[in-house]
Amino acid sequence: MTANLSVEDLLDAYRTMKTIREFEDRVHVEFAKGGIPGFVHLYAGEEASATGVGMHLKETDKLASNHRGHGHCIAKGVEVKGMMAEIYGKKTGTCHGKGGSMHIADLDTGMMGANGIVGGGPPLACGAALAAKMKGTDGIAVVFCGDGASNQGTTFEAMNLATVWKLPVIFVFENNGYGEATPSNYAVSCEDIADRAVGFGMPGEIVDGHDFFAVHKAFAKAAERARAGEGPSLLEHKLDRFFGHFEGDNQNYRPKGEVKRLREEVCCLKRFGAEVTTNHGVDQAQLSAIDNEVAKLIDEAVAFAEKSPEPDLSALTTDVYINY
């Protein structure tokens, strides 16, 4: 399955990963400058996960996300400008400034929404999968959950339901070692989250979430199974986040040096670059060109967001049924 990744595919993958990384690094900077309001959770470090999954998704497939959703959005094809404007709370944002970072959704591209509620997404993804199944398409749904979310009742219920109804849904657990400040090896009662698959009658697999190829391969199998009507799968992506839980996190709960070390040692972009230039006939120049392209894209997105207008005050009472 990795076999049939063309150079073009690989460059696409790189572009997506790089876009996510630049987006997040820039949001980090702009947040610190005070330009961005609210709670922001950055995805930097986990790019291979969203990207390796996203490449298998058609526009009609659905993706349910969580609070750390920027990467999932980008991998699902949501416009970067609209996302940035949304994070700034502007009228031109994906949700016209009414949602913010934690609630970016774009149903037209199959992005069902980030979610401010841990464990909010898994049941929703089951529903999207059910709709695909009922309509007789080969559509699938994927939900991204953290290690923390793996302990939420809704997540368990959704996994059970997915098997009972044989839904084309894939549960991707992005295990980045922490739920806020609490380590996953404290809060998750079993060795690996993948151990839970058997209790829900589905295959489960541990995947190196820093390795695009591993993610891509494992998801290909799960997607194939789902599209063939054989039911759900569980994937556990082991990976790391490069920033704090949210912007402003002191990260005291991490061992000294961990944060610094990660960008050096487990950067999925570096690893991908080395791999594709060494073994897949990709040129460093091609990657650099993408780097430039992406830098420009993100600059433009920030500029767009900054100069976009605020929503009209009348928007306070639109988009919801009100009778007084």
Partner: protein
């Protein structure tokens, strides 16, 4: 038109007609077929009280039994609704909302607003509420006040077989999430129900009895208690106007206010507990918007601020009775400035 069927049959008929008409309508819930995957009868129950009985036979896989995982399947219904289906989801007892409330008020109810108008979530949650079955504290609550409090939800509380059919069809066609509250004591109530499909719009209260002295605003099962009270009061020369809200969200303020402007007196009857309730809601609106017409204090007749007791005599005392409603009307009639 003279055909009489029960409230329960009217619900079943509404579901049947909408499922026949629109393939995207599906039903899910615990035992809504009953017997899925077993060796006995497949369509054994049709819901715990048989309300959906027969639909599995007609619509097969579009009627789906679920595990006992309310958050899971209600959430799935919500997700399916955003993806083009129109799920009618059964929450067996409204009392169980506490295990799935997040998917209702934080997810379904907020999508349209939070996503800047980009989402439609046409889901109906049918659920059974109310006291009267000796079902005790965890199977007898009203709780529609909590749903009414949530922006983005619509809340329907039908009082008759005619209304329940028309309002359910309306609910299924509505593009917002709807909480559809059926009183367990009403399922066996018979009434005239047209065979053909029809809708009753939301936000239009029904004046079930006209009158000039006191306005009684109420909803659901309490409509019947109010009518009984009104009959008693009529013999005493007191003319009551009984307003059945039909939906508490949207709320037909206009009808309420017009009625109070005419009568000058208001009694609100609500089977729910007294705090932050439909009773306080209606009272507050009238105290703000029809104050000048009020000739007496507003009386509220509600359950006490207690859980629902099991013992039958206690439960009977718990539920607002025609007697207590009549007493409240007598108080407002007797008020002297």
């Amino acid at each position: 038109m003279a055909r009489k069927i029960t409230y329960q049959q009217a619900i079943n008929e509404a579901l049947d007609q909408e499922m026949a008409k629109d393939k995207s309508v599906i039903i899910m819930g615990e035992d809504v077929a009953g017997g899925s995957g077993g060796d006995g009868e497949m369509d054994a129950w049709g819901g715990v009280l048989g309300v959906t009985k027969g639909l599995w036979g007609k619509y097969g896989d579009r009627v789906m039994d679920t595990p006992i995982s309310e958050a899971g399947y209600v959430g799935a219904a919500v997700g399916a609704a955003t993806a083009g289906l129109r799920p009618v989801c059964e929450l067996m007892f409204i009392d169980f909302m506490g295990v799935c409330f997040d998917q209702i008020y934080n997810q379904a109810a907020k999508f349209r607003y939070m996503f800047g108008g980009k989402a439609e979530t046409p889901i109906v949650i049918r659920t059974m509420y109310g006291a009267g079955f000796r079902a005790a504290a965890q199977h007898s609550q009203c709780l529609y006040n909590m749903f009414t409090a949530v922006p983005g939800l619509k809340v329907v509380i039908p009082s008759s077989p005619y209304d329940v059919k028309g309002l359910l069809i309306q609910a299924i066609r509505d593009n917002d999430p709807v909480i559809f509250c059926e009183h367990k004591v009403l399922y066996t109530l018979e009434g005239d129900v047209p065979e053909e499909s029809y809708t009753i719009p939301f936000g239009e209260a029904n004046i079930v009895k006209e009158g000039n002295d006191v306005t009684i605003v109420t909803v659901g099962r309490m409509v019947h208690q109010a009518i009984e009270a009104a009959a008693t009061l009529a013999k005493e020369g007191v003319s009551c106007e009984v307003v059945d809200l039909r939906t508490t969200s949207p709320l037909d303020e206009e009808t309420i206010i017009e009625s109070v402007e005419n009568t000058g007196r208001l009694v609100v009857v609500d089977e729910s507990t007294p705090r932050c309730s439909i009773a306080t809601d209606i009272s507050a609106i009238v105290a703000q918007k029809a104050f000048g017409s009020l000739e007496a204090p507003i009386e509220m007749v509600t359950a006490p601020h207690t859980p629902v007791p099991f013992n039958g005599a206690l439960e009977d005392q718990y539920v607002p009775s025609p007697g207590r409603i009549a007493d409240a009307a007598r108080i407002v009639m007797g008020y002297k400035v």
